[in-house]
């Protein structure tokens, strides 16, 4: 549509010229009796060239078969015109005659243009050149050839010059030979035939045969142009001779191709199936959809009655039915309940295509009761990736010898595409799943963050800061504060054994238990003994929790604490100017229930003064590792505290974190790291 509308003004221009010429032509014939002969011939030539250029835009959008049809209709018109002309040969020029000749010219030009369109399908560099040379030669032939002596209808001065150098017959013969040569060369460009399907080929054969007949029956006679010069009849003859040659070659080619036309049709269908599949690969991300498409395409390509797809389950290594098309119910039952089917096993064992021409006679399908005494053929193609069979594509036809050798070849080729499609979809599905998983981890991470205190307790007499950094999205470390009063603060730090989600859940549980017990019992020891009893019942045997719980009494300046298997309490004593790692006896929570835990656990009370420092930490601090597999160790931690003893809690915390960061370097964090810094004022 676009092209046609863009060329509309141009076409109108051409048509108006044609009309003007027609008027001039008719007037000159009817009244001036040939007096404007040369001008008319010149205008006709101009019209031919213009029309030739103008028609292209209209024709180029038609399908091949429609072009063939238009050629045929043109030929019917031509036949009609020739019939009228042959019956009423006028003695004097008349209007009807002029109009008919005019239409004949239009037909000739359109046919030539249509043939050009056909020739230019699968155009090569030489195609255009040969065609345009032929066109020029035809024009030249039309000008310089003729059976009137001298032969120059378009006799302007220059022609006489040429005439003097060379006899007109020689030129005429040369041009004729050249023209025939180019016509033949162009006639062999009939590649468009192969794009027609079988029925179109048959129709084209008859249409073209009729076209040839209508040309041949009248072309020999030149009477139609009696009152014209030589150019017009020569041109018309040349074009129709070319059309006849071209159409003859095309029907010969069709004749040669007809026996294989069915096969070619199927090939074309197959190619388009393959093409469709590769389109699907781009557009479809759902594995299920991809597999369904594969099955449908398999049926389409092979013309099978039913088809199904088995995919290997990586866990059980069995092949499971994943998609099917028209698979009979009893067969489906069999495939889902019993996966040891002999022909499937054969394909898995041999890793090659299996084609069974008669399922009733083959030992690999002998046990399939469904196929006993029935006609049927089977085609099974393994889907191989990384030299391993991950799936099998199967198709069955309800007739013996249903599949041909090239079905086998084609379906194998198709299987390659199918493999790529499935792998693609799997990759995408995996990455989506991964993304979802990561999203969930992020949510878990946020949820766990919320289990930690949102802010530090703000008490008049103590400066506090704390941090917890998990190695993965979720971890097993935690700390918590309980503000009993303005001068009494409960502090807990804990580390659940193991890592990841399991540790994170137990951490949440421990937090809840300690929180509620801390409001019931005043003594840290009682809190931990009670917590151990609860946790021993709920924790996995292998899981335990190390924990340090203490109460900072800011009124009496003491810190009462209990250590349940946790890292020691770091205490900077300002008066003695010394760091202590206080390690009281105590088992981790959840190791043993009952007396053994209670008897071991010792509660300690440390008296402090303003400016002293307590640091509670998890083993992520002292066990932070560098690339040489060295650990950070308590010694470095103690030195740092001494070095930074004058600073506030936040500055001390930051100094320690910075030092650990420098120590670890580009090693990834191995364990969760938690630290609480308390500095009484």
């Amino acid at each position: 549509m676009n092209i046609a509308s863009r060329h509309k003004p141009y076409l109108l221009f051409v048509l108006s010229i044609l009309l003007i010429v027609l008027v001039i032509d008719m007037v000159s014939f009817a009244y001036f009796k040939n007096s404007m002969g040369h001008l008319r011939e010149f205008l006709i030539m101009l019209l031919i060239v213009l029309a030739f250029l103008g028609f292209g835009a209209t024709f180029s959008q038609l399908s091949i078969f429609n072009k063939v049809k238009i050629i045929f209709f043109s030929m019917i018109c031509l036949l009609g015109i020739n019939l009228i002309l042959s019956r009423s040969e006028p003695d004097a020029p008349n209007v009807l005659f002029s109009v008919l000749i005019f239409f004949k010219i239009i037909i000739a030009v359109s046919v030539l243009r249509l043939i050009q369109e056909l020739i230019f399908i699968q155009r090569k560099k030489s195609t255009g050149r040969n065609f345009y040379l032929m066109f020029i030669v035809i024009i030249l032939y039309s000008i310089f050839s003729g059976d009137k002596s001298g032969g120059f209808s378009f006799a302007i001065g220059s022609a006489t010059v040429i005439n003097r150098i060379m006899p007109s017959e020689i030129i005429s013969i040369l041009l004729t030979v050249l023209m025939i040569y180019f016509m033949v060369v162009n006639s062999f460009r009939v590649q468009w035939v192969k794009f027609l399907n079988k029925s179109q080929k048959i129709k084209t054969f008859f249409l073209n045969s009729f076209g040839i007949a209508s040309i041949v029956s009248f072309t020999a006679k030149k009477h139609s142009a009696v009152f014209y010069g030589e150019f017009t009849p020569n041109f018309l003859n040349a074009i129709f001779i070319f059309a006849a040659i071209y159409l003859s070659v095309s029907i010969l080619v069709i004749l040669l191709q007809l026996p294989t036309a069915g096969f070619l049709d199927r090939r074309a269908r197959e190619m388009s199936s393959l093409h469709q599949l590769s389109q699907m690969i781009i557009g479809v991300f759902h594995l299920d959809k991809v597999m369904n498409i594969i099955i449908k395409q398999t049926v389409e390509i092979t013309g099978a009655n039913y088809s199904w797809l088995l995919i290997k389950n990586p866990k059980t290594s069995t092949f499971e039915l994943m998609a099917q098309h028209d698979l009979p119910e009893n067969l489906r039952m069999r495939l889902t309940e019993n996966t040891t089917v002999e022909f499937v096993d054969w394909i898995v064992a041999n890793k090659t295509v299996l084609m069974i021409d008669r399922v009733s006679r083959d030992h690999r399908t002998a046990k399939m009761l469904e196929w006993k005494n029935r006609e049927g053929s089977l085609l099974g193609i393994p889907l191989i990736s990384d030299e391993e069979i991950f799936g099998i594509l199967l198709a069955v036809k309800n007739e013996d010898y249903g599949f041909l050798a090239d079905d086998k070849a084609l379906l194998s080729m198709f299987a390659n595409n199918a493999t790529a499609a499935i792998e693609n979809a799997r990759l995408i599905e995996n990455s989506l799943e991964k993304e979802k998983y990561q999203q969930e981890l992020k949510i878990a991470h946020e949820a766990q963050r919320k289990l930690l205190p949102a802010s530090m307790p703000e008490l008049e007499k103590v400066d506090i800061d704390a941090t917890s950094i998990t190695a993965n999205e979720v971890g097993g470390d935690y700390y918590d504060f309980f503000e009993f009063s303005k001068t009494k603060l409960g502090i807990v730090i804990g580390d659940v054994s193991g890592k990841g989600a399991e540790a994170a859940f137990y951490m949440a549980e421990a937090k809840g238990i300690i929180e509620s017990l801390s409001s019931i019992y005043k003594s840290p020891r009682d809190v931990l003994i009670s917590a151990n009893k609860i946790l021993c019942n709920t924790l996995d045997k292998r899981t335990f929790i190390s924990l340090l719980y203490g109460i900072l009494d800011l009124k009496h300046n003491n810190f009462t604490f209990c250590r349940a298997g946790h890292c020691p309490l770091l205490y900077w004593n300002g008066r003695e100017e010394q760091v202590f790692l206080i390690e009281t006896p105590g088992l981790a929570l959840g190791l043993v229930s009952g007396n053994q835990f209670d008897q071991t656990l010792v509660e300690e009370k440390v008296r402090f003064r303003a400016g002293d420092i307590f640091i509670l930490y998890t083993d992520g601090v002292n066990e932070a590792r560098n690339s040489k597999q060295q650990e950070f160790e308590e010694e470095r931690l103690c030195d740092l505290v001494v070095e930074n003893r004058g600073k506030n809690a936040t500055a001390i915390k930051n100094a320690i974190l910075e030092k650990i960061e420098n120590f670890v370097g580009d090693q990834s964090q191995y364990d969760d790291l938690t630290m609480v810094v308390l500095k009484p004022k």
Binding site: S497, G498, K541, R542, F544, H566, L587, Q596
Partner: protein, 115 residues
């Protein structure tokens, strides 16, 4: 990736496991599997030699907790020997010496099993 290896040998009725490398959350299942095999075979006298172990995490310690009750109920034991001070420190912090027989060397453990 930190590596971990378990080698098994038998001395009389005592099964000795030599553990080597890094025992953490990733490698713990390996040790777990080996001990499970012994327990399944009714072999309850187990000695774990730590001489070549470079690192143990809390998850590594958890492995022993998973079996000890069952083994002791069957009159057996898991004894631990040849720990370097750093490894021993991890056990000590959590209070494991209260729960397990941690001995200097294999001979001590064998003697204790035989008494």
């Amino acid at each position: 990736m930190d590596s971990f290896e378990v080698t098994k040998r038998e001395q009389g009725n005592i099964n000795i496991l030599n553990i080597k490398g890094y025992l953490d959350a990733h490698t713990a299942p390996q040790l777990e599997e080996e001990i499970q095999k012994l327990v399944d075979d009714g072999k309850y006298h187990i000695l774990v030699n730590f001489s070549e172990l470079a690192y143990i995490s809390s998850a590594g310690l958890g492995v022993f907790m998973g079996f000890i009750e069952n083994i002791r109920n069957n009159n057996g034991d898991i004894k631990l020997s040849n720990m370097n001070p750093k490894i021993y420190r991890v056990f000590d912090l959590l209070g494991f010496p209260e729960l397990y027989d941690i001995v200097e060397n294999e001979q001590d453990a064998i003697d204790k099993f035989n008494n």
